[in-house]
Amino acid sequence: MTTLNRRTILQGAAATGALIAAPSLVRAQAPAIKVGILQPVTGALAQDGEYGRLGAEIALNEINAAGGIKSMGGARLQMVFGDARSNPEGGTAEVERMQAEGVAAIVGGFASPIVLAASQAASRYDIPYICDVGVSDQIVGRGLKNTFRFGPGFGNVTSTALENLVKLNDAAGKPAKTVVIVHEDGLFGSGMAKLLQTQLPPRGFEILETIAHPTPSRDMSNVALRIRALNPDLVIPSSYYAEFVLLARTMQQQRIRPKGVYAILNGAASNFRFVKEFSDAANLVMDCNHWADPRKPKTAQVKALAEQGGRFWLYNTPLNYSCVRLLADALEKAGSADRAKLTEAITNSTFADHIMPYGPTKFVNGQNQGAAPVNTQVQNGDIKVIFPTEFADAKAVFPAV
């Protein structure tokens, strides 16, 4: 038989006290900061949206595992996810919901039309909005104080792409003279085609034809046949993933082999899924696009995390990873989730610990000045960097035939 003595009672009291105190310990921790992650995960752009979300998740997990936002008492970041359903209306609807849930900021959007609409909706509530991919120059050209773009814009990407194309062609002894432009007939593709039509002739390229196609489209036979008939040296495609894959496979089917396929901001040419699934059709396709910096050790870590569970390495993942890390850095500096203070902190941000090849952030009118695209080429089942030469890990194979 046990008797109650003083020690047992004290022990019991201490235990009870600890139990009662425990909830207040939880309460003492800083409240979580809600971060809106907006991506199209259903509809035509679902694949890109999924990989964007993956990047955001990796960053959020990493930040929380490292102790959250230290200047705010170790506050953890909590994701409020919104599906933009591949259209601008879906994007704005989710911004309204995120506003109702009280997010501190929103990251993502992917496609230009979604980013344009969503950032405008967010500006009505002064929610800081960091665009991940959308390249339309209008995004940062509207004077919205809340809207920032971490990656390069359309004008920047295309001028780099053209510069590198000329370098590439000159180095090979100018084998390419004639060009066929293939583009999707939406905002992105048509804008690109218009720009190329004015920019290519002064650089010594003759445009044989500009072929538009709708998104989605499931038959590229006629486009391929026209290319076969025109027999250009160079094909420049600007389409989303599914259509370019279809075009590349149809060109392969019809044995169409131009001297080069030089994509600009193409949805497939810097996508490991395309490279792995259709390696013959993808081989030697070049692209000028977003790409993570292979020199940074962090890139390999994020890539390894992203590839867990059989996923592929797409540029969406490192871009969104970096954008969320940029936001966390701004929260750290602001020491507050107050939207005005946070906007101020992003505006003055000099964040360098991202995995894109950009250098520290410097926003002018919302555009990150150091942002730059990279030229890649698919070579034997791998995606290699061919420009800029500072960190290229392969020489361009051009002409391909």
């Binding site: 259903t42 509809g43 035509a44 072929i211 196609h213 709708p214 036979s221 046949l225 089917q253 019809q254």
Partner: protein
């Protein structure tokens, strides 16, 4: 001017696609010929069949060509049941009611698919999706060639069924003179339902032939039905030969205008033909005088 082999490739593409169009039009023209109604649910049924192929392939791993033998009887049964137990009773023998019932059915089917599969565009990936058969300088897509041959086979079988079997005789009798057929002992309701079932079965076959090279979303049927209506008008209402020839003509026109006027304007040729036929030969190429 484009080179000859480019023209021939586009021509071959058009003929192969046209054969599948013809198959879709066959169902429509058959139902019109017998029931004297336009089946507005035709497009939605095709969409449902294409989703059925998609589910068979992605969930049960059944090859689309193998799925023909499962989905054709299934859709025949569904078509039979819908006419016998829904459209027939709901129409009370009035043609304008039938139109409305089929229109209502199409809305229900489309939205059920939208609810079940969302608005995503989906496709299936089969290993032979991009394989080719070389004919001289032409590289013909194998799945399209299969679709071309199968469509002709189905048209032939349908013609044999109508011309040589008792059921076929009964269908033709009902089409010609409903009351007379009923008086000579033909179960008119049954024949109506059989015809409707045959229409749906044609769509199931068309769906299986299309899916290896095509995409599906809940609204895809509409694109085909517009083309099928044009074919039926061009070939003559109720004519099987008309549907076949009309389908091939429309396929070629679409392919060539796509090649010469660009992808976004490709369909313009189809509707030009539609208007021209209505203006100059309203009964179609093989239609009887109205």
């Amino acid at each position: 001017m484009l080179k000859l082999d480019i023209f021939l490739s586009a021509l071959a593409n058009g003929l192969m696609t046209g054969a599948v169009y013809a198959l879709v039009a066959l169902g429509l023209t058959l139902v019109y010929g017998v029931l004297h109604i336009i089946n507005f649910a035709h497009g939605a049924t095709l969409t449902a069949a294409m989703f059925a192929v998609f589910v068979m392939h992605s969930v049960f791993k059944v090859d689309p060509y193998l799925a023909i033998f499962i989905l054709t009887p299934l859709f025949f049964g569904l078509g039979y049941a819908v006419q016998r137990f829904v459209i027939g009773p709901a129409s009370h023998g009035d043609d304008s009611n039938i139109l409305l019932v089929t229109l209502g059915l199409s809305i229900i089917i489309e939205n059920a698919l939208l609810a079940g599969f969302r608005s995503d565009t989906r496709s299936i990936d089969v290993p032979y999706g991009f394989s080719v058969v070389e004919v001289g300088n032409l590289f013909l897509s194998t799945p399209k060639l299969v679709a071309f041959a199968a469509s002709f086979l189905v048209a032939l079988l349908l013609w044999l069924l109508l011309a040589r079997t008792d059921t076929g005789k009964a269908i033709r009798a009902v089409a010609r003179e409903k009351t007379g057929a009923a008086l000579s002992g033909i179960d008119v309701d049954h024949i109506y339902a059989v015809t409707f079932g045959l229409g749906a079965a044609c769509l199931a076959i068309a769906a299986c032939l299309l899916m290896p090279t095509f995409l599906v979303n809940p609204r895809i049927g509409n694109a085909f039905v517009l083309v099928a209506f044009t074919i039926v008008v061009l070939g003559g209402m109720g004519s099987i030969l008309g549907a076949l020839v009309g389908g091939l003509i429309i396929g070629v026109v679409e392919s060539l205008s796509g090649l010469y006027f660009g992808e976004s304007l490709g369909q313009i040729g189809i509707f030009l033909i539609f208007i021209l036929v209505l203006l100059f030969r309203p009964t179609g190429l093989f239609g009887a005088k109205a």
